[in-house]
Symmetry: C2
Subunit: 275 residues, 2 copies
């Protein structure tokens, strides 16, 4: 672990990341000494910092820190957090000149390989996402909604070990995302993904699917998506930087068996990785 | 400063308070070795912890820590934070057995005394609060909306030193609260305060005003309040544990000069404090 470039695993209790969730983060997958899609992650980091008025650390020093970490931990999950740092007491973000940034590293979670091929069971979360255009799309540290949503199927009393992800709707009945992933719908030869201008996090893998659709001339729409449309889809899949891509085989009463488009994207990504 | 009962000012970077804003807080005023309304604050802490499924520290040990702090710092602002602590990676809050709690202390901010008597200038914030019934009322650590709202009039380019508080509306045009205070409206002999079932923080001083209204047989309504109603009020005032009570003398084009109800409450609180 690195805190502001130095080995450490502690930060000050006056850090605004802790006091207010005043910061942003990235989660990257390291494979054989390489952080997957680091340039795309840095772009997102820069975008999110800018949106909150946080001075994003320069890419050069961050990349150097990352290289140092990868040399010692070639495989796993890397987490990078940037906060507005410590300032005077109170919400106003002015006069915070000491941006904090730190890296943490975790072993790669061991998900059943079957989930990537035959799909996962997903459930609809009861919690509805609130709508805040000023924060939508940003991977910021205010994540209590995700915590409450993830608690729904991880609750020991309701334990359903088969459920791998929960889908979140907003207060207007739009399906937005998974608790830790972005959602894609395949319907009549088109890809559709929820637009994220009021809720949700726009992840790197979402951009990569969009990029794939352009390169393969597959029509793609970014727009509001309702639950009925999701349940009537030809295919559903979720993506994030750690899981990659998981098709959904079960949601509510609906089951899916074949995922031709999802498998085509997985294949393209696997070839890209091998090349 | 105390971290889990011991002197310190650092916490681990895996604490969920930092990673997700997964925790709650209280801000208390210490005067001459006494923390004002500590029992009311503890009740709120317990309520908020329970709402998030966090095991609230017992009142006995917390009170003992507080007494120790007050012996050394008899006057100032005390901040108490309780987080779900560190757990395994991921949003699910299960298996987090190590609740973290810590105290910090700050000097009392020096506000012009005039603000308490002749009122403050307030402004309407551009940011609209999102609506999340599961988090409404709770003083949790997801406070980016407050940060963005406070930035509006603390921005150096727009600096208006006179503005002391910003009023926040929700996405349905309801007036909810100040960025760090609760709002009361006096209209035709009645007290009105916004209901907080979808947005906002229900503070200790809000409860104390409600309590005052009951004891003094003054009708009080807790309901949706629109901006027009606020601008046509006979009096407006905001309350929190550090400022106490501030009348509003200026908001948008409207000015107020007399605050008989606000002054009556201030007087009652002063007598209560002296007794």
């Amino acid at each position: 672990m690195l805190v502001n470039g130095k080995p450490g695993n502690l930060i000050g209790i006056r850090d605004r990341g802790l006091l207010y969730g005043d910061g942003v983060f990235r989660t990257l997958r390291a494979i054989r000494g390489k952080a997957q899609h680091w340039p795309l992650h840095y772009q997102k980091l820069l975008h999110d910092c800018t949106a909150l008025g946080i001075a994003c650390p320069d890419v050069g020093p961050l990349s150097a820190e990352l290289d140092g970490l990868l040399a010692r931990h070639p495989d796993g999950v890397l987490k990078l957090i940037v906060t507005r740092g410590a300032g005077t007491r109170g919400y106003a973000p002015q006069h915070c000149a000491n941006i904090t940034h730190f890296w943490d590293i975790f072993p790669l979670p061991e998900y059943p390989f079957d989930w990537a091929i035959h799909g996962i069971k997903a459930q609809r979360c009861q919690l509805r996402l609130s709508q805040q255009p000023r924060l939508a799309g940003i991977k910021h540290l205010n994540r209590l909604e995700n915590v409450l949503a993830a608690a729904e199927w991880n609750d020991a009393r309701l334990l359903d070990a088969e459920i791998a992800e929960g889908l979140l709707l907003d207060t207007d009945d739009n399906v937005i995302e998974g608790t830790r992933s972005n959602l894609f719908v395949v319907s009549e030869g088109e890809l559709i993904t929820p637009e994220l201008s009021r809720s949700g996090v726009a992840g790197v893998q979402r951009d990569r699917v969009i990029d794939w659709s352009i390169k393969h001339n597959m029509p793609l729409q970014i727009r509001n998506v309702g639950l009925e449309e999701v349940l009537h889809a030809d295919e559903l899949f979720v993506v994030n930087s750690i899981i990659g891509l998981w098709p959904i085989r079960e949601l509510e009463q609906r089951h899916w068996i074949n995922f031709p488009v999802a498998m085509q994207i997985r294949q393209a990504w696997a070839e890209e990785f091998a090349s």
